[in-house]
């Protein structure tokens, strides 16, 4: 096991826009760190650099304290699980699992116990003699994990390993992966664009945007104190409501929601989470109109509109308003987040 440290990593493909700009990130030994961000933000690039499949244009990668920036992939002792599994199609499950050991010249007698151990851990026992084409998506995913586990690497890299699975299976494997991490305790760097995966599994989350690191911290830190308005809007399901300053500075509806006494001078945007908003009877709070009600059983999302802005409120499933109904909305001073003109959180 090892800590992974990235120091000012930059990567430009084909002399175009940078895929990665001066990314610095420390991943503690044994931590489950998630790289989160929209498509094309450079998540896979980070993994490929750490794995050694691509070389950075500048910057340094360390495993523990050792500089591995220019080391070939096979010498880094990290394992990767690919989005499309990348199982060797002509080899059986057993041969797939043995492949990393065989390549590292582990003698056959020592391969067997390792293989059986992994097969048991991932419940692959009955599948050992099948070819990858004879497996279901979830089984293939487990074999891919097994192949990464079997050589006991110092760190795991996982590139959207669940994105090809249906919702039920994804939820199942999500908890399975968390349990697996608790059992083996290996450092994991997990890439996803799904913020629910990130929030549920991560010890720490790093949010990337267009090759830049937006924020790094625990899920709670990102949720409670997003460093930028981008993180605020990205984390949470749905993300934070963001109201531009001009909508409340002139008074009007949003001026009622955010009274003058609460306002921060340099703020460009005010943010409030859907769960920090309260629906109140029409005539109280800020006056808005219900445009949509999404019920989820235990609670519901109520979409409001007023003065050309949209707002989402999470409400208990009880007495829900109906579409088109006028209603009031209110919040507290302490629930508000303030972001400056550069999108950064005001201290």
């Amino acid at each position: 096991m090892a800590s992974v440290s990235l120091e000012r990593l930059s990567k430009i493909y084909d002399q175009r826009v940078p895929a990665l700009s001066e990314l610095s990130l420390d991943i503690p030994d044994g931590a489950f760190t998630v790289l989160l961000g929209p498509s094309g933000c450079g998540k896979s690039t980070v993994l490929r650099l750490v794995a050694g499949l691509d070389l950075p244009d500048s910057g340094r990668i360390r495993l523990d304290l050792r500089d591995v920036t220019r080391l070939p992939p096979g010498d880094r002792d990290v394992a990767m699980v690919f989005q499309h599994y990348a199982l060797y199609p002509h080899l059986t499950v057993r041969e797939n699992l043995e492949f990393p050991l065989r390549m590292r010249r582990v003698p056959p007698i020592q391969r067997r116990p390792r293989l059986l151990q992994v097969a048991e851990l991932l419940q692959l026992g009955g599948l050992l003699d099948r070819l990858p084409s004879q497996l279901s998506g979830g089984q293939r995913q487990r074999v891919a994990l097994g192949r990464a586990l079997v050589r006991e690497p110092r760190a795991f890299l996982l590139d959207e390993p669940l994105s090809n699975l249906d919702a039920t299976l994804r939820a199942e494997l999500r908890s399975e992966l968390s349990r697996l991490h608790q059992r083996v305790g290996t450092t994991m760097l997990y890439v996803t664009h799904d913020q629910i995966e990130a929030m549920t599994m991560a010890d720490r989350i790093a949010v990337l945007r267009a090759g830049w690191l937006e924020q790094e911290g625990t899920p709670a830190e990102l949720y409670d104190a997003p460093a930028t308005s981008f993180v605020a809007g990205f984390i949470g399901a749905p993300g934070m409501n963001l109201l531009p300053a001009q909508t409340w500075r002139e008074g009007g509806v949003w001026g009622d929601l955010i009274p003058a006494a609460w306002r921060r001078d340099r703020a460009d945007q005010a943010g409030v989470r859907p769960e920090a908003l309260r629906l109140v009877p029409a005539g109280q709070g800020a006056a808005a109109e219900v445009t949509l009600v999404e019920r989820f059983g235990a609670d519901a999302l109520v979409h409001l509109s007023a003065g050309g802005e949209q707002l989402v409120v999470r409400a208990a499933a009880g007495a829900l308003p109906s579409r088109g109904q006028p209603i009031g909305v209110a919040t507290e001073w302490a629930a508000l987040h303030w972001f400056g003109p550069d999108g950064r959180r005001l201290p």
């Binding site: 499949l53 096979g74 002509h90 590292r104």
Partner: protein, 270 residues
């Protein structure tokens, strides 16, 4: 809709008949009496098939030896072409080296040079090496197939890169990545290449004719041609030899049909 299907079938049947006709004529001629060929009208099928034509034709010259030679020739050519195409095609598809693009362009450009043009230079080459009338002389200039390189390169591009990346992370060196991961994925392409290589060299006439002046290293096709020189007047005997020379090709084709079709699909060329 059904009428269209029917017309399609009819057309296919017609074309097949046109293609098959010469072979049937060959077969029937091979069983005729020597001068029955010149009778008017020529019978479609001989009343008394002359099976001994085959024995006579095949013993007039050392055909056993010719078959063996052809087998050795085609076999070595197939092995050579598979090895060179697999390595070169993979290199062009996957490895980064200086001059890769221009080199590939030149290689492809060779497809446009008619083989006949290269006949004399090739002969001069093996002559200079003292290899005329020997197996190395016969085989050495046939070991690389440009079409095969192109085929393998195309096939490589259909292999997901993730697979090779995974192997690198699993500790495979570049050679192991090629041999253990890429090569198995290229098997269908290589089978296709082997099939075409075999057919091409089996029915190759000009080159073996020039490269092997004596009877010792002649192949079947050349043998059939030689028979024509010796027994120019007897068509049935020549046809008997020609039919026999065709049998291995038919067998190979029947067994490996699907690879034949795949080769055309992959490269759009043949």
């Amino acid at each position: 809709m059904r009428l269209k299907r029917l017309l399609g079938w009819l057309l296919a049947a017609l074309v097949s008949a046109l293609m098959l006709a010469p072979f049937l004529v060959m077969l029937s001629t091979s069983l005729m009496e020597e001068f029955a060929v010149f009778r008017e009208p020529v019978p479609l099928w001989p009343a008394h098939p002359q099976w001994q034509n085959y024995r006579e034709a095949l013993t007039a010259l050392p055909f056993g030896r010719f078959f063996l030679n052809a087998l050795v020739f085609s076999g070595l050519v197939v092995v050579g072409q598979v090895v060179t195409a697999a390595t070169a095609g993979y290199a062009f598809a996957r490895l980064r080296f200086p001059g890769r693009r221009p080199l590939f362009a030149v290689t492809l450009g060779l497809l446009m040079v008619p083989a006949v043009v290269l006949l004399i230079p090739r002969f001069l080459l093996i002559h200079a090496l003292g290899w005329v009338d020997s197996v190395p002389g016969l085989v050495s200039t046939e070991l690389v197939s440009v079409w095969g390189i192109f085929l393998v390169r195309q096939a490589c591009q259909a292999v997901p890169r993730e697979l090779e990346d995974a192997a690198r992370l699993d500790g495979a060196g570049e050679w192991a990545v090629f041999a253990e991961v890429a090569l198995p994925a290229l098997r269908p392409a290589l089978a296709t290449l082997a099939l075409f290589g075999f057919i091409d060299s089996w029915k190759n006439y000009l080159w073996p004719l020039i490269a092997t002046p004596s009877l010792d290293h002649r192949t079947v096709e050349v043998g059939v041609g030689t028979l024509h020189g010796l027994y120019g007047s007897s068509w049935p005997h020549q046809m008997a030899a020609a039919v026999t020379a065709l049998v291995p090709l038919l067998l190979v084709f029947l067994v490996l049909q699907r690879y034949f079709i795949r080769g055309i699909q992959w490269t759009g060329y043949r």
